[in-house]
Amino acid sequence: MAGNNPNSKPMNLTLKVWRQKNSQAAGTLETYQIKDISPEMSFLEMMDVLNEDLLLKGIDPVAFDHDCREGICGMCSLYINGRAHGPERGTTTCQLHMRKFSDGDTITIEPWRAGPFPVLKDLCTDRSALDRIQQAGGYISVNTGGVPDANEIPIPKNIADKAFDAATCIQCGACVAACKNGSAMLFTSAKVSQLAMLPQGKVERKTRVENMVAQMDKEGFGACTNIGSCAAECPVGISLENIAMLNREYINASFTSENV
């Protein structure tokens, strides 16, 4: 099982990787042996090595999402050994290192599983449902004009900190992948509460939460049952408090907004 590899010796691993030609095709787990993996490698570098091997053997390389490879873009995904972004808490897959595994380990690698995240190919999923939730209200409408002076709008430090924490969501979708209900509440709550807490976001506060929740339901995500797997697996540590705040915002907006 996943553990620390103290002696930085190269490792031999067995990989079980989900292979699926396209969104229509049925997929299966394929088994590959991989040799001489340095514990210093990131998980995605290990995947690169696998793909080089596969290319040499004339096998189609495994498609997986990635971009920045430094934990900020939210593109990487992967359900590794039963956990979103792998066994280490608070890390994206690109920041997960092979020293978390041991020589001889078998690693099962699957795509995010949720109806609203259809598999495009192998480990790549279409996560644009999250974009559409964001587009439904995750913005503020301001007229462009002169830049306001810094600190012109007073915001208490603790509120600024909480809003900033919510704003760190990188939209990776691990919360949905880890949730038994395939719920996107942690994601949506981070986006809603970030803006609900700040003066600039207060103008569209009620309509925003109504529209974003409606879009979330429309995309087919599940309902939250406060299990908490999402926050436990979130690579940036978005807190469950945001979900309570989303509930509060939604209940308040439903009963008091002008939208009938």
Partner: protein, 229 residues
């Protein structure tokens, strides 16, 4: 769709109904438990029979009974609706999944625990409620007034080991249901605060142990008493 039906057919709106009815059912549990403590009075069941008679005839209680029934209906309908929908979101299951690394079993099993409670409720209502309300009364005399002797029905029922077992298992399910459910309901209502949330969680854990233990103590008490006699 009107704003009202839109709200209550949204995922959060439905969950709101589950939370409000869930907390209402918790208040019912407290009343029910305190009332049933009359069973422990060693007066040959007189207080319990008088209490049961009051519960079956008082108009306020009879009205609350309908509210309670509606509470159960809404709680069960909305929670099972959400449960079914949630189970259909992940069309392809994970080949390898380790939810135990990120969450509690009880919070993931609310549907199962609720179903166990529901099955228990059916048995429980059939045997006691139905018997008390529509069964042939077995009148006894307490201080000159005739009462249906429900106390004896209770005592008789709890002589059967498998009947006691059903009760104990159901109370364990209820405890686990509330271990997650009590504090979860406050979260659903958006009531989260640095000052109060830790206290709510502690009280929820306390509640989820004490209330089911109180209920389970009754069948166990009469069963053990039966063994000793």
């Amino acid at each position: 769709m009107s704003w009202f039906s839109k709200t209550f057919s949204s995922s959060i709106g439905r969950k709101l109904v589950v939370a409000v009815t869930g907390l209402f059912l918790c208040s019912f549990l407290v009343v029910h438990l305190i009332g049933n403590l009359q069973l422990f009075k060693s007066d040959g069941g007189a207080s319990f029979n008088i209490y049961s008679h009051f519960m079956a005839t008082n108009p306020i209680i009879r009205t609350m009974e309908i509210v309670l029934l509606l509470g159960f209906v809404f709680h069960i309908y909305q929670s099972l609706y959400l449960n079914r929908k949630n189970n259909s979101v992940r069309k392809v299951p994970y080949a390898y999944n380790r939810p135990q690394d990120n969450s509690n079993w009880s919070s993931r099993s609310m549907g199962l625990l609720g179903t166990v409670i529901l099955l228990f409720l059916i048995i429980h209502l059939y045997n006691f409620f139905w018997r008390a309300r529509f069964g042939e009364p077995n009148m006894i005399d307490i201080e000159g007034t005739g009462y249906d002797d429900l106390y004896s029905v209770v005592v008789q029922s709890f002589q059967l080991w498998w009947y006691v077992l059903i009760y104990v298992v159901a109370q364990i399910a209820l405890g686990l249901h509330l271990y997650h459910g009590f504090s979860s309901a406050f979260h659903t209502l958006g009531l989260n605060h640095k000052k109060y949330t830790p206290a709510i969680q502690k009280f929820g854990a306390f509640f989820s142990i004490v209330v089911p233990a109180g209920f389970a103590s009754m069948p166990l008490y009469f069963f053990i008493q039966g063994l000793l006699n």
